[in-house]
């Protein structure tokens, strides 16, 4: 264990940086999954759109995003500035 306060501060900063970088990943993944041709890849079948597939795909990802944002907000909440 490192008791050096400077090393600990660096560690906490590194963790904070990782958290913010991770938070950047959520909207990027959201764009990649919801506003890209991937959408058609998962939801198209021969002859047209797989209706229930689209619903499950979009709402499933939407739900997952909400969950990820919820977890992320708990992680990032400590880094916000408030009066």
């Amino acid at each position: 264990m490192n008791d050096n306060p400077i090393a600990q501060r660096d560690l906490s900063r590194r963790k904070q940086r990782k958290r913010t970088e991770l938070s950047f990943g959520i909207p990027v993944i959201a764009v990649c999954l919801l506003v890209s041709p991937l959408l058609n890849g998962f939801t198209t079948e021969s002859g047209g759109t797989n209706f229930s597939g689209v619903i499950v795909y979009i709402f499933g990802i939407w739900g997952a995003l909400i969950l990820a944002a919820f977890l992320m907000s708990r992680l990032l909440n400590s880094d916000t500035v408030d009066d």
Binding site: A30, V35, L38, L39, S52, F59, I66, V81, D83
Partner: protein, 887 residues
Amino acid sequence: MLSFNVIATICVLYVCVLFAVAALAERRARQKKLGFLHSPLVYTLSISVYCTAWTFYGSVGSAARNGFEFLTIYLGPTIVFVGWWWFLRKLVRVGRTQRITSIADLISSRYGKSNALAVIVTLMAILGSTPYIALQLQSLTLSFAVFTEGSTSETTPAITALFIAIGLAAFTIFFGTRNLDANERHHGVVTAIALEAVVKLVALIAVGIFVVWGVSGGPANTLTLMEARLPETTSVFTPRWVTLTFLSATAIICLPRMFQVIVVENSAEKHLATASWAFPLYLFLMCIFVMPIAATGLNILPEGSNPDLFVLTIPLAENREALAALAFLGGFSSATSMVIVAAIALSTMASNHIVLPLWLYFVQRRNPESDDVRTVLLRSRRISIAVILGFGYLYFILTGGTTALASIGLVAFLGVSQVLPALIGALFWRNATRIGAICGITTGFVIWAYTSFLPSFGGSFILSQSVLQNGPFGIEFLRPQALFGVDITDPLIHAVFWSLFLNTLVFLCTSLATSSSPLERVQTQQFINVYAQSAQFRSLNEGVTPEDLFILAQRILGRKDAGALFNIFSQKQGRPNGLPEINMELLQTLEREFAGSVGAATAHSMITQAVGNQAITVEDLIAVADETVQVIEYSAQLEEQSAELTKSANELRIANDKLTTLSAQKDDFLSQVSHELRTPMTSIRSFSGILRSDEQLSTQELQYFSGIINDESQRLTRLLDEILDLSFLESGRVKLNRSNTTLKKVLNSALQATQQTNANANAEVIVDDTSIDTQLYTDVDRLSQVFINLVTNAVKYSNKATPKLKITCTPEDGNLNITFQDNGPGIPKDEQTVIFEKFSKLSNATGSTGVGLGLAISQEIMRNLGGALVCLDSSAGAKFQVTIPIK
């Protein structure tokens, strides 16, 4: 069937509840009992003002017409919110530190507090929001019309819309302009909006549950129904899908009402963290039943029914009056909340950026009383609200209330999106300039109006049907919906592409071509580095206690003085113990005291920061900068003085060194003189002693000894004469007998005097007689003495069998240079200056009989005659040059 009167009564009762809730919240806020009002839940629910009647009624209509497309309007905001840390957080932080009151204020503040820019954004926001307000009026009118269908009531849609507009204006004026809160937060309105958000969510979910389980017979059947009834599409991901998602993501940031609830009404940054997942969840819940309702409506309602009203007409068709009433209230809530917040946001912008500057300019140019400004602001806000709703009503009447809800909403979205490039530039791009922002926004705005807003009237307003079809004056190239001959089938994609593309292009190019003003640069720094600044700002922020002020005062004034000052105030306030309460007098005194230590501007900034909950203003910064300049100037003066002192010290050091050298020379001189006097004195004493003691000396011996004594005393006398002479010459007390003569005379006299010596040494003297007749006015004897000295030295120190001396005369610049060049051993370079020192002899000099004063005397003579004697470099022998002024 619910009658119109019942619905009207429900509406009135509901509005009464809203009034009560808003009033209660206002009262609690005034009493500082914020509690629930200050919770992230209320904040999130207030953001759901995004879901307007367009969502409540229009989504179902859109799903029935276009299938999945309606989802884009909610996916865009979801993406923005889950990525809140990267954009919304910065926006909120800037809003809070800069005390931003609207999106126009933000843009104007960043670009050098430009009022022109604020006016442009305000006008654009009003114009962009007008279709949106009309949309709400239309949906409310349509929903009322459902209940008047078939009845004998003579209420026309226009009259219903008018009543609704008046009612909304009254509510907004009452709660939206009660006070001029410094940070423009409206607790009453926000709480009422939060309540409405709950009502609309509950209503939509209730209708959805009823449709799935009560009408369609369960989720599986509903899914089958959806597949059968909703329009089929070949693919979900299309250019329109991307455009709409992008547009909705932009709208959640740029819509004036969204900016109002997200940024202005934000009271804590952590609320945004909660909203980052709670708001997408709200949207998710709002959307989940849209498609089942659309499919069921298409299934059970007669052909030709308006799909925009399925939420209302399905329960009515199924005779569920209570549910229909709830659905109606949901729609009513959606529409009213949007109109209220939009009217507040727009009226704030209009009054702050248009009315007030004009009023100050025309009415009260000088020193307006603060109460006057307050009255003007409140009055202008109230009028603005009425005017904005009037515009919405006018748009509704002009478009005839026929256009589908969704398309009107998209026109509005695109209008306000024109702020996006300037907004992103404001937060992330240092080189974005005011001119760039003005040009970009104006370009985007004009293209939006031309390609989207004006065509939305369908040829009935400004742009006629023929212009829409064939372009202005028949120029196909400028057709509003196929600009520059680029035929994009979807008018929306066409308008989005051209307006935002040209807007961004003009913004980038103009910003790069222009430079920003000093004020802009200050603001750029404050906006782009907002995180770095707010960290400092927080330490002296809101909620300052007397203890904080005391600590601050101790740091600046010192423990003792701060203690004494605070004691005086405590006693004044009748508090013998403890710290005084913070009041204006204390703050002014503190500021005055601080100013003595840190300068007036810094003191002002410190006090303002400590108690004012605001960032340093530009004026403060400028004043701080002025003081800094003064300090720099003072410091420069000190540096100059310090440099002068150093210079004087160096000069003193040099003078001291010179004195020390001179003192050493004096000592040397005395020691040399003693030595030189001692040698002949010793001889004289010895031989005189012999003469006295020995009486048997022969005449020859007697003559010899007395001869030595005589020679030595003569030498002694000569030495003393020389020393005396040198002393007179050095002090300048020597008397010169100047007369007219020629160089020839002087030189001849010198050569005659040395003739014998030269002959003895077999020396040869050559005189170059070119300028030998030059007239001189000088002391002949003295000059001759110098020449004799030089000739004698040349002969005396020569190591050759036949010493040679060449004397050359050359006139130069009013002087005559006489050079004496011999063929002797020469003088080493390092000894060329030393030889003029008193008693100095060359290190290689042999057979010297002199005492070493000759050259020193000669140099002094020349100095006294206004000339000079120097030793020159020479490759063979010694070379001396005598310079003497020509008469």
